[in-house]
């Protein structure tokens, strides 16, 4: 057994990482729905979920159980094979794309093996291209679901979705070219390292400043690719019942749901990595005291949860919330006491905070913006985003060329 483990260490590590990432991503997905409902509710002066568990924290669990136990009918006249394939395809591709994201710069050394955070090897030199390849196939899940349901509303939803994804894919890919030119690599790790050329600049060294146009195009196109508000025409409930997933119920619907939220996380990861320095700290590297920021945030948040918990109206909440708060506070204290661990979590902490901010922006947009009309959507994609992203590529190329010619940089 031991010799087998030693011989296939890479394989075993990868398998463990896959299971762990799957667990984390699905849990984050579940709580993302809770977070979205809560934030949108507060934006609209409502309470949101608050019956199941303290602050509705057990709501995702209840939803999951409901998805599992609901009746799962297959409508008459569907194309069986494609009807079952579509949700599988959507979920599998969404989860594959997140496997290509690196989550931290330094490996954990364990029993003589370097374990990197993230499943794909960190020297994958087609990183961003592989990601685009996986997301490019993502449209099939939605389009095929619409067609296979053999029903008019899903078909319209599927058609809209394919047209929308074809239109915005161009702008999405073109808007990244500027970043790639500046980094000179497709590798996500190298793209982040290229933003750390001036360690004292901190936040000012990130790609978002020279590439503000590219970021604008990328984020809008990415929101359209994930079919989220204000680009959620494929499932516009006022016109198409529920769009492409009208005929899907129970866990097959849940698979589309999880796929959508996973793509949201992937897009947030990509935004942080390509334009916002990934795991780089926004402060200059010489400000060592900022390394205690994760602990400070965790401890203050934990104490707030305890303070909020002891005044909660149900007895269950008065036990669970302070316990949760104590755990978070303890985590913060551990980071302060162990300097090695504190150094290690700096990268993942900043990456996760940036991802969180982008997820909040997603929810914020959902709470704020109305849906586009179909012709507006097409005109916006082809007449504004695509030309803007091409201009961005041309300007970036000329600036880089001028730098090389006149200042002899790089």
């Amino acid at each position: 057994m031991n010799s087998f483990l030693n011989a296939n260490a890479e394989l075993v590590i990868t398998l463990v990482k896959i299971v762990l990432l799957l667990f984390i991503v699905l849990t984050v997905n579940a709580y993302l729905t809770w977070f979205e409902r809560k934030v949108v509710a507060h934006m609209q002066s409502r309470w949101g979920p608050h019956r199941v568990g303290p602050h509705g924290l057990l709501q995702p669990l209840a939803d999951g159980v409901k998805f599992l136990f609901k009746e799962d009918p297959t409508p008459a006249g569907v194309d069986k094979l494609v009807y079952y394939l579509a949700p599988l395809l959507a979920l599998a591709l969404a989860l594959t794309s997140i496997a290509l994201i690196p989550f931290g710069p330094e490996p954990i050394r364990l029993l003589g093996h370097d374990i990197y955070l993230g499943i794909a090897p960190p020297d994958l030199n087609i990183g961003i291209l592989a990601l685009f390849a996986v997301t490019a196939l993502g449209v099939y899940g939605v389009a095929l679901a619409g067609w296979a349901s053999n029903s008019k509303y899903p078909l319209l939803g599927g058609l809209r979705s394919s047209a929308q994804m074809i239109s915005y894919e161009l702008a999405l890919t073109m808007s990244v070219v500027g970043v790639l030119l500046m980094a000179g690599s497709f590798n996500l790790k190298k793209i982040i390292e290229a933003q750390a050329h001036h360690p004292e600049w901190g936040i000012l060294g990130w790609n978002v400043w020279p590439q503000i146009l590219g970021f604008f195009c990328f984020f809008i196109a990415a929101v359209a690719e994930t079919n989220r508000v204000p680009f959620d025409l494929p499932e516009a409930e006022s016109e198409l019942v529920a769009g492409f997933h009208t005929e899907y119920s129970s866990f097959k619907f849940a698979m589309f749901f999880i796929a959508e939220y996973t793509s949201m996380i992937t897009v947030s990861c990509l935004c942080s990595i390509l334009f916002f320095g990934g795991w780089l700290s926004p402060f200059p590297t010489s400000w060592l005291f900022t390394h205690y920021l994760p602990s400070a945030i965790l401890i203050s948040f934990g104490l707030w949860v305890i303070w909020d918990g002891i005044r909660y109206e149900t007895i269950f909440g008065r036990i669970v919330l302070p316990g949760l708060g104590a755990a978070i506070t303890a985590l913060g204290v551990v980071f302060v006491l162990l300097p090695n661990v504190n150094e290690f979590i700096q990268g993942p902490f900043w990456l996760l905070s940036k991802i969180f901010v982008f997820l909040f922006v997603y929810v914020w947009m959902r709470g704020t913006l109305p849906r586009f009309r179909y012709d507006q959507l097409m005109a916006f994609g082809w007449k504004l985003l695509l030309p803007l992203s091409i201009v961005n590529v041309i300007v970036t190329s000329f600036v880089i060329l001028a730098k090389m010619q006149w200042w002899g940089a790089k």
Partner: protein
């Protein structure tokens, strides 16, 4: 059998099965899906040859863009099960003959070649992003620009045709 050889046979089998299924399937959407399987299996083969860039572009362009258009058009026209006319049935016989001839030609070429399959593997050098861009934008820049000009003409032609329909 090495791991790469096993992956090669898996990908090759997937490509062949997909291609056969593309012809045998009755419904256009099923045929289109089979073609996507072929494209992805081919991308896997490119990856095995060390041509990572080509593999990724194969999936993005063929799997992601062109096949989405195929599926989109089939869905938009709501094409049903294909109809067999007497001519399309007759076309089967010479088609089968051509298949046998092509297979024989390929098999003969492989049998006559003295190099083993492994030696054709060229990691990185030519197929890398840098190598490909050097070839496109330095060595073959005029053919490349001419091709893009041709595509531009085709795009303009399509636009003009669509406009005439309107008025």
């Amino acid at each position: 059998m090495t791991a790469s050889l096993a992956v090669f046979f898996a990908m090759a089998a997937l490509a062949v099965i997909g291609a056969v299924s593309l012809i045998v399937q009755k419904h256009p959407i099923h045929s289109a899906l089979s073609l996507i399987v072929v494209m992805i299996a081919l991308a896997g083969l490119y990856l095995l040859l060390g041509a990572e860039f080509v593999a990724a572009v194969q999936i993005i362009v063929y799997g992601g863009a062109i096949m989405v258009l195929f599926v989109f058009v089939i869905m938009l026209l709501n094409a049903g099960v294909e109809e067999h006319t007497s001519i399309s049935k007759m076309a089967g016989a010479p088609g089968l003959l051509l298949v046998v001839a092509l297979a024989g030609f390929v098999a003969a070429t492989i049998a006559r070649s003295t190099e083993s399959v492994e030696t054709t593997l060229q990691t990185g050098e030519i197929a890398s992003t840098l190598g490909i861009s050097n070839m496109i934008f330095k060595d073959f820049v005029y053919p490349f620009e001419l091709t893009s000009f041709l595509i531009l003409v085709a795009v303009l032609g399509a636009t003009v045709l669509a406009q005439r329909e309107k008025s």
